[in-house]
């Protein structure tokens, strides 16, 4: 078994730490083309996830962990990211349903499920300058990667990072920034940047 529920819980804790550390930087990014609160929601949401997971009993399955994370993120955050990440995490939970622990092949399944959940809930497509421009490439890279859980996530993280950087060159057609037209050019999408951080932390902590 590559990854246990305890590993997942540890990974969510590390995401919470990272979001707290990057809170103000993500807010500043959102201030440029949005409403300046992206880091607040991410830090708050993953903080609530960590707290909720602390309360889980020892026998929780990966699916329990992911569903608990989904619910606590949603009800603490709201905003755009709440439904997006809640749906993503619920899809990931469904993708590993019935398992006590995760195998190498589940790495790609989870990342792909996250990307699908976000696309479904947000009705977004690649290229619209949203977090999907990090999660989408991450899912593609994970699906075509081979090797261990960690290696798959490393490939996903790399692709998410490149995807996030690439949003600077996009004109937004979804979310708050869509009303900016050309004025959104030159700024990275905050949701894509935080998504790349999340995939990065997963790669560092799992495997």
């Amino acid at each position: 078994m590559a990854v246990t529920s305890a590993d997942l819980i540890r990974a969510f804790g590390a995401i919470a730490d990272r979001m707290t550390a990057e809170r103000d930087a993500l807010c500043a990014l959102d201030g440029e083309i949005g409403d300046g609160d992206h880091g607040i929601g991410m830090a708050l949401g993953f903080g609530a996830v960590r707290e909720a997971l602390d309360g889980l009993d020892g026998g929780a399955s990966p699916t329990d962990v992911l569903n608990t994370a989904a619910r606590s993120f949603l009800s603490s955050v709201g905003a755009s990211t709440g439904p997006l990440y809640a749906t993503a995490l619920m899809r990931a939970a469904a993708a590993v349903k019935g398992k006590d622990g995760l195998e190498d092949a589940d790495a790609a399944a989870i990342v792909a499920a996250m990307a699908e959940g976000i696309a479904h809930r947000g009705k977004a497509e690649i290229g619209q300058k949203t977090m999907l421009d990090a999660w989408g490439p991450a899912a593609e890279a994970a699906k075509s990667a081979t090797g261990s859980f960690a290696q798959v996530l490393a490939a996903a993280a790399e692709a998410a990072h490149r995807g996030a950087e690439g949003t600077a060159g996009m004109q937004a057609s979804m979310g708050r920034a869509a009303r900016l037209g050309e004025r959104s050019l030159g700024h990275r999408d905050p949701g894509a940047v935080s998504a790349a951080m999340i995939v990065g932390v997963l790669a560092e902590t799992l495997g």
Partner: protein, 335 residues
């Protein structure tokens, strides 16, 4: 350097605010047992009446919570600052105000709000409560006319909610209340201008920058960039720019009537709003349009942002009757 605010912990700001609101206005408002972020009208929700639920992020007070009360909204779902509430409080609102005639969700057209309220509506459907949704899209600066339905909802909310709330209070059916709400939204036009930024309680940093003699035309009420940035102009020139745009959209004929809202974003003194109103009314008179009723003040704010918006609602007989109908909210009254 942190911005200056009268706060305890920034994370507690919204809940502490709601405590303070309930302590001041307990005669009109109460929190739902199901969610302390669901604020319910003590008087208003009743059997056979369509329930009107509004909501959105905090930081726009008196929008939304201040417009809960008899004759206007039956409940408001309250989010974090500038963040849509999650589905839970919206669902709690639905459960509290459902009088068997269905519930209408009304809120500004923002991606986050749409996703969260839609999830709440799906959950309500599972409980066999019919929930419909009308998004407000009065911000003419936020998209061209051919994409009117992608526009943001801003200060015009006030008129649109008021019309729908009065319709529900008149015991119209869900179909009719929805029709009124869509009609009111279609005839309401807002243009805003920002002079200085606001800061979130949690970060206490300015959420955008504006040069010392710049203003931003069409700025959103969360500090989202607007149409263009330019040098600060005299009051009359600013109003003229707003009114030209509103007249363009409204296509009112001589003799038509409007309701007017000159709204402050938070840090702009009443003096400046009334100076703006002088010009608004002059422009209406010049166009032969009758100003049926005028509100001036802070109705839809962006925390401590300086700036203002002008809203015109193009009235017909029905809207006039609904706008004039008494209501009794914590922060707004028509008698």
């Amino acid at each position: 350097m942190q911005t200056k605010k009268i706060l305890n912990a920034g994370e507690d700001a919204v809940d502490e605010m709601l405590d303070g609101i309930l302590l001041a206005h307990g005669d009109v408002l109460r929190a739902s047992d199901g969610s302390h972020r669901a604020i319910i009208s003590r008087d208003g929700p009743r059997d056979g009446k369509v329930g009107l639920v509004i909501g959105g992020g905090s930081g726009h007070e008196p929008t939304f919570v201040g417009f809960v009360g008899k004759g206007l909204a039956d409940a408001a779902a309250i989010g974090n600052v500038f963040a849509s509430p999650p589905p839970d409080p919206a669902l709690a609102c639905v459960q509290e105000v459902n009088g068997g005639a269905g519930v209408l969700f009304m809120y500004g057209n923002y991606a986050g709000d749409v996703m969260n309220f839609d999830m709440a509506a799906e959950m309500a459907a599972m409980e066999d409560i019919e929930v419909r949704t009308v998004l407000t899209t009065d911000d003419v600066a936020s998209a061209p006319p051919d994409r009117k339905d992608t526009r943001r909802g801003v200060a015009g909310n006030f008129f649109i909610f008021k019309a729908a709330g009065a319709a529900a209070d008149e015991m119209m059916t869900l179909d009719e209340v929805e029709r009124v709400a869509r009609h009111a939204n279609a005839r309401t036009y807002t243009m805003g201008v920002a002079l200085s930024p606001c800061s979130l309680p949690q970060t206490r940093r300015w959420n955008f920058g504006l040069g010392p003699d710049e203003m931003e035309i069409g700025m959103g009420i969360h500090g989202e960039p607007g149409i263009e940035r330019g040098p600060l102009k005299p009051a009359d020139a600013i109003v003229d720019e707003m009114m030209d745009r509103i007249f363009d959209e409204m296509q009112a004929a001589r003799g038509d009537r409007v309701a007017v809202l000159v709204n402050g974003l938070g840090a702009t003194p009443l003096m400046e709003l009334y100076i703006m109103n002088r010009r608004v009314q002059a422009r209406l008179q010049e166009a032969g349009i009758e100003s049926h009723a005028t509100w001036v003040g802070n109705y839809c704010t962006s925390l401590e942002m300086a700036g203002a918006s002008v809203t015109a609602m193009h009235l017909d007989d029905e809207l006039t009757r609904l706008i004039d109908r008494p209501c009794h909210c914590a922060m707004f009254r028509v008698v």
